[in-house]
């Protein structure tokens, strides 16, 4: 009796611990995959599938209004390459991007350098420069459209004070680019400055002390110590603003007081590639999905190539100077 009573519990216990061990092994094996599954499932449905499907759609004459579509090979692409509106959009996109990115990043570097000094109320200053980033693109576009208004805009009023006639910002090519670049710069300069500031704070003090002994003044230190040391962050911001800038949509889309679709001005003087994509797919009555998909792939290609070129360019900042 005592025999059986003693044997049964140990047997059960052994079996239970074996089950537990098996469960535990299952738990450690499966859990990681379970935890990363939401990302990959969602990315599969809403990321990679649309991506591949875009490639397919771009090879068809798919139209939302037509019941069927057929494979037409590279016809959309060859048409696109001969499409002067497309090239116009590419030029506009690149122009606005250069006008907004270069001053923006240079200004951000200078601001970061100033914020890196020992300051009173530095949290106040940091928050202030980040404030534009909180403002939505739509708000930025609408507020600045008003500020750049032809007749009653504040910008023209200020120009009047120094003897310059009213500028019809929206109508001209260069003037509209300048206005749009101002919007982009206003929203992003502080954010980039904070990224640079963070990078600057991780530069070891010894480097500055060494160059101070050499008698380098603050701004020379900035060029010869600070900039080379934060090169990785500069590369990062250049890539980010390339990806963002080349997809520019909201500011030019809302620049016209009365939304006349997505043509970017009466002469398409500030239509960007994203706007052209929108115009073809959703903008009017065309719903030309095949063609728009081809635009999407060309945009991607453009972003990839220019990001890479930028990377090579920025890499040439010499750290040997320091």
């Amino acid at each position: 009796m005592s025999d059986g009573a003693a044997a049964a519990p140990t047997h059960v216990a052994r079996r239970r611990s074996a089950t537990r061990r098996r469960l535990r092994r299952l738990d450690t094996k499966l859990s990681p995959y379970l935890y990363i599954a939401p990302f990959f499932v969602l990315f599969g449905i809403f990321g990679i599938f649309p991506l591949l499907y875009t490639a397919w759609v771009s090879l068809t004459d798919r139209n939302l209004l037509a019941p069927t579509s057929s494979f037409i090979g590279l016809q959309n692409y060859s048409e696109l390459l001969r499409d002067e509106y497309f090239w116009n959009a590419v030029v506009n996109t690149l122009g606005i991007w250069v006008l907004s990115t270069v001053p923006q990043l240079v200004l951000a570097l200078v601001i970061a350098h100033v914020l890196n000094r020992s300051l009173r109320v530095r949290t106040f200053f940091r928050m202030s420069v980040l404030l534009p980033q909180v403002t939505s693109l739509v708000a930025v576009a609408l507020i600045f459209t008003q500020l750049f208004g032809y007749r009653y805009g504040l910008v023209n009023y200020l120009l009047n004070q120094v003897g310059i006639e009213n500028v019809n910002w929206e109508a001209g090519r260069l003037s509209s680019w300048i206005a749009l670049s101002t919007m982009v710069t206003w929203r992003w300069v502080g954010y980039n400055a904070l990224l640079y500031l963070a990078a600057m704070q991780s530069i070891p003090d010894e480097l500055y002390e060494a160059s101070a002994v050499d008698g380098a003044r603050s701004w020379r230190q900035f060029i010869h110590v600070t900039v080379p040391m934060i090169r990785p962050t500069i590369i990062f911001t250049v890539i980010i603003s390339t990806i963002g800038g080349l997809q520019l949509f909201t500011e030019p889309f809302l620049f016209q007081p009365v939304k006349s679709g997505s043509t970017g001005g009466s002469g398409r003087q500030y239509q960007t590639v994203s706007m052209y994509l929108y115009e073809k797919a959703f903008g009017g009555t065309q719903f030309d999905f095949g063609y728009a998909a081809a635009i999407a792939w060309c945009l991607f290609l453009l972003i990839a190539v220019i990001s890479f070129v930028n990377y090579l360019l920025v890499r040439t900042i010499r750290s040997a100077d320091a």
Binding site: S136, L147, Y152, I303
Partner: protein, 295 residues
């Protein structure tokens, strides 16, 4: 509190001793100009929103707020005057941004935990895939995504602007970086020895430890979702808009733009984020700067 983010502490170094870098009065003047430049457009939107349109033509321009803000806001919420349901837009945006934020924080922490602390076959490769997805531009997929939404029957429904964004590569990346530094392995091992299964480890050890970065990720996600325009513009209509779609509809509605109304809507649309920013701006600044050092 053994699970302070000790690694991130290093970025909050004591103030430097570079005496020659002390800011002079000129620096402060420059910085105040910069502050004015940052704040002015927002202030200006309130100035316009608080006058009637006749004030816009004044010469010299009126630079102080007027007394018409209440009246303009009343017009904004009056469906008889405005071609869009602004109240509904605000509610929609609040729903969308809240759901997306909670989901992004939770699932990003979960995936970040797996990538940072659990060993499994293919983890390195899969993480590279996550990073790679950061580079893919949104615009690239909108057309098939739109076709998908037609099939799901989600056109003009909030699901369409929620589902694709429930977990983001950026969130997973941020969480992974933070968790690998902020949660000591010993702590996880100890919990395991105590018999915790993996989900309990996540719930009782990891989640409490990631609270600081979760706040940052949550704030950034909320702001981004609230401000998103391109995709909502495509998939929603003015009958069931988010607030950004509603504001842009205001701008496109009349041949002569009613700026008092448009900028009232604009100002109301940025007000919630402005409030959040005033309260938690310090954390947002800290979060962006931490992310920069790590990234």
């Amino acid at each position: 509190m053994s699970i302070v983010p000790y690694r991130l502490r290093t970025s909050a170094r004591p103030r430097r001793s570079r005496g020659h870098d002390r800011a002079g009065p000129l620096t402060y003047v420059g910085l105040l100009l910069l502050v004015a430049f940052s704040v002015f457009p927002l202030y200006w939107s309130f100035v316009v929103a608080s006058h009637d349109n006749s004030a816009l033509g004044a010469y010299p321009p009126v630079l102080t707020p007027g007394g018409n803000f209440r009246e303009n806001v009343d017009r904004l919420f009056n469906a008889g005057i405005v071609n869009v349901d602004f109240a509904k837009a605000l509610v929609n945006s609040a729903i969308v941004a809240s759901v997306v934020t909670l989901s992004v924080v939770f699932f990003s922490a979960l995936a970040g935990f797996a990538f940072a602390k659990l060993s499994f076959r293919g983890s390195k490769l899969l993480f590279v895939v996550v990073i790679a997805t950061l580079i893919v531009p949104v615009q690239l997929g909108v057309i098939p995504l739109y076709i998908e939404m037609i099939h799901f029957g989600w056109i003009n429904r909030l699901q369409a602007v929620i589902a694709p964004f429930l977990v983001t590569a950026f969130g997973v990346f941020l969480m992974r970086q933070y968790i690998s530094g902020a949660v000591p392995n010993e702590l996880i091992d100890a919990a395991r020895v105590d018999g915790c299964h993996t989900m309990r480890v996540f719930w009782h050890v990891v989640l409490p430890a990631v609270r600081p970065i979760a706040a940052v990720l949550g704030l950034l996600t909320f702001m981004n979702t609230w401000n998103d325009f391109f995709w909502p513009l495509i998939v929603l209509t003015p009958h069931n808009p988010t607030v950004q779609v509603a504001v842009s509809t205001l701008a496109g509605s009349a041949y002569v733009p009613d700026y008092a109304l448009i900028l009232s809507g604009t100002f109301v649309s940025i007000l919630p984020l402005l409030a959040v920013f005033l309260v938690l701006g310090k954390q947002i600044v800290g979060g962006i700067m931490k992310g920069a050092v790590k990234g």
